[in-house]
Amino acid sequence: MLKAMLGEAWLAMGANRLRTALTMLGMVIGVGAVVIMMAIGQGAQYAVQQTISTMGSNLFIVLSGSFTASGVRSGSAGAPSLNVADADAIAELDGVMNVAPTHQGTRQLVYGSQNWSSQVIGTTPAFLDARAWNIVNGAGFGDSDVRSSTRVAIIGKTVAENLFGADDPVGKTMRIQQNPFLVIGVLGSKGQNLDGRDQDDTVIIPLSTAQRKVFGTPFLGSVRMIMVQADSAEAMPKVMENVTSLLRQRHRLREGMPDDFFMRNLSAAAESEAETTRTMSILLGAIASISLLVGGIGIMNIMLVSVTERTREIGIRMAIGARQKDILSQFLLEAVMISFAGCLLGLLIGLGVALGINLFTGMVIVVSGSAALIAFAVAAGVGIFFGWYPAQKAARLDPIEALRYQ
């Protein structure tokens, strides 16, 4: 029975090929758009997730200076309000896992005849722990290097490639601001951060060395930034609160005086970024779904025309014993078949375009099986939803009226 009906639906679709093809085109475009948009949206989500996972979790930074309505203002005397002793005190707080005072800036690196400009970060070993950054070649430096201001450096992958080329950087000496530094380790790759900056274009050196030799701070022991990692996401608010009161106390700020530092929750920023891409992804899908809706309305339109055109045929079928549900399923099947065929084509074209986008722009594309499955379910749903009314109209026809129709 079903097979016979499928055959008939196929015949009916073939009877007016151009019309069937055009109707299908609506579905092709709709499903294609949904697939492409979902691939792009999910790709963006994936990329952000990927970046967030390279950042390290439950992080916030404390910056010196006050945060006013007009923006960031450094301490009035120009001296950073934070110092290494603050960092040590923060490390003693409950719920704090890692604390790393840092001082960073962009500097020129020289190795032999090679030049490369890179971000130089002076910090303590805790920095790598907080950022969950491992060393793939060589070793890191220890707290003793920070105490004795040794001139050692750990470099990122981009620096290794651009400065040392094919050479193994470990054991080589490069210059930063005329000062020779021994490269003791190479960092694992982290790729871009949320702002699109290459995180592998980095050199990490002991904080004291950085302040003495590279940045030449007149206020030794002072830092502009302290990175703090909490035990857990739940502990974050409490830790941030405790850090605030600790620093106010240490800086002898009386009640009513503004903070001379401010904090930024990196993990929360990342979360909101992820939320943004998620929203964008849903929005893209929703917009694409509208074209699916338009495709569905196209099917309904054509099915209505078809029912009117075939009124006499419906009458004949009823006269020889077709029940209402026979007529209903005949037209419904036709609508679903058009919808399905369109969906299949749209899926293929959508995948092709998504792959093309990936190939030509390098944009991250994620095509999940569930997206394809959803597209199919939606197509079947659209076919049934928009096919229902015309099919119902056909099934409700009066046999004798339908037979009289010219």
Binding site: A15, R312, A319, I320, G321, A322, I400
Partner: protein, 237 residues
């Protein structure tokens, strides 16, 4: 009454049908009574507009009466649901139209087999039955042809084969020869005669006395009422 009712394929009591027109209700059929026994061969005659087609459509369960009762093979059709009527049209009776009413773009074999599809018969049986009946009406060699490739007389034969495919007790035909020339009409009438000889009850509408002469009983309509009902005097050899 009991035994007679059991024998009747069709029993119509006070059957009436009014159409809604711009000028109000128009009574096309005004309370007709008729009994048709199994195996009868009846010709319905009457001038144009006398209600013959209206009556046939009611008998064929294609339309619903405005009043009266219609017993088909014992059950009262007037109170049946739409889908039950569809089953009656499918199994109990076969309808033959003046305009053949074959489905285009479908082979003759598929046309003949279509009632079997709605009866839920499997594909092999459908094929075999359709072939058998096409053979019976003398068109076995055209099984794969499309309806528009054959003549009107041949199309009407296919329509008869389709009406017969579910082995109905009753064939209803509204002017089956109305679109055919006299020679072809004779062939169709011969076919009806054979079917009746096999025991199938036949009711047909015609304007032509020659055609009506093939039937064993003649019923005349006028203005929505039966005005005469008698056996054919000289049944053909």
């Amino acid at each position: 009454m009991g035994p007679v009712a059991n024998e009747s394929v069709i029993r119509v009591v006070g059957l009436g049908k009014s159409y809604e027109t711009a000028a109000g209700l128009f009574p096309a059929l005004k309370g007709v009574n008729l009994d048709i026994q199994s195996g009868e061969y009846i010709a319905i005659m009457g001038p144009s507009g006398s209600g013959k087609s209206t009556f046939m459509n009611l008998l064929g369960c294609l339309d619903t009466p405005s009043m009266g009762d219609y017993f088909l093979a014992g059950s009262n059709v007037a109170q049946m649901a739409k889908d039950d009527l569809a089953i009656l049209r499918n199994r109990t009776l076969g309808f033959v139209f003046q305009g053949f009413n074959l489905l285009p773009r479908m082979s003759l074999q598929d046309n003949v087999a279509l009632p079997l599809v709605y009866a839920g018969v499997d594909k092999e049986t459908r094929r075999a039955k359709a072939r058998e009946l096409l053979g019976k009406v003398g068109l076995g060699q055209y099984a794969e042809s499309q309806p528009n490739r054959i003549s009107g007389g041949q199309q009407q034969r296919v329509a008869i084969a389709r009406a017969l495919v579910n082995a109905p007790r009753l064939i209803l035909a509204d002017e089956p020869t109305g679109n055919l020339d006299s020679h072809t009409s004779e062939e169709i009438m011969r076919l009806f005669g054979e079917l009746n000889a096999e025991g199938i009850t036949i009711v047909l509408v015609t304007h032509e006395p020659d055609i009506a002469a093939h039937a064993k009983r003649q019923v005349k309509f006028l203005d929505g009422e039966i005005v005469s009902d008698h056996l054919t005097e000289h049944a053909p050899a």
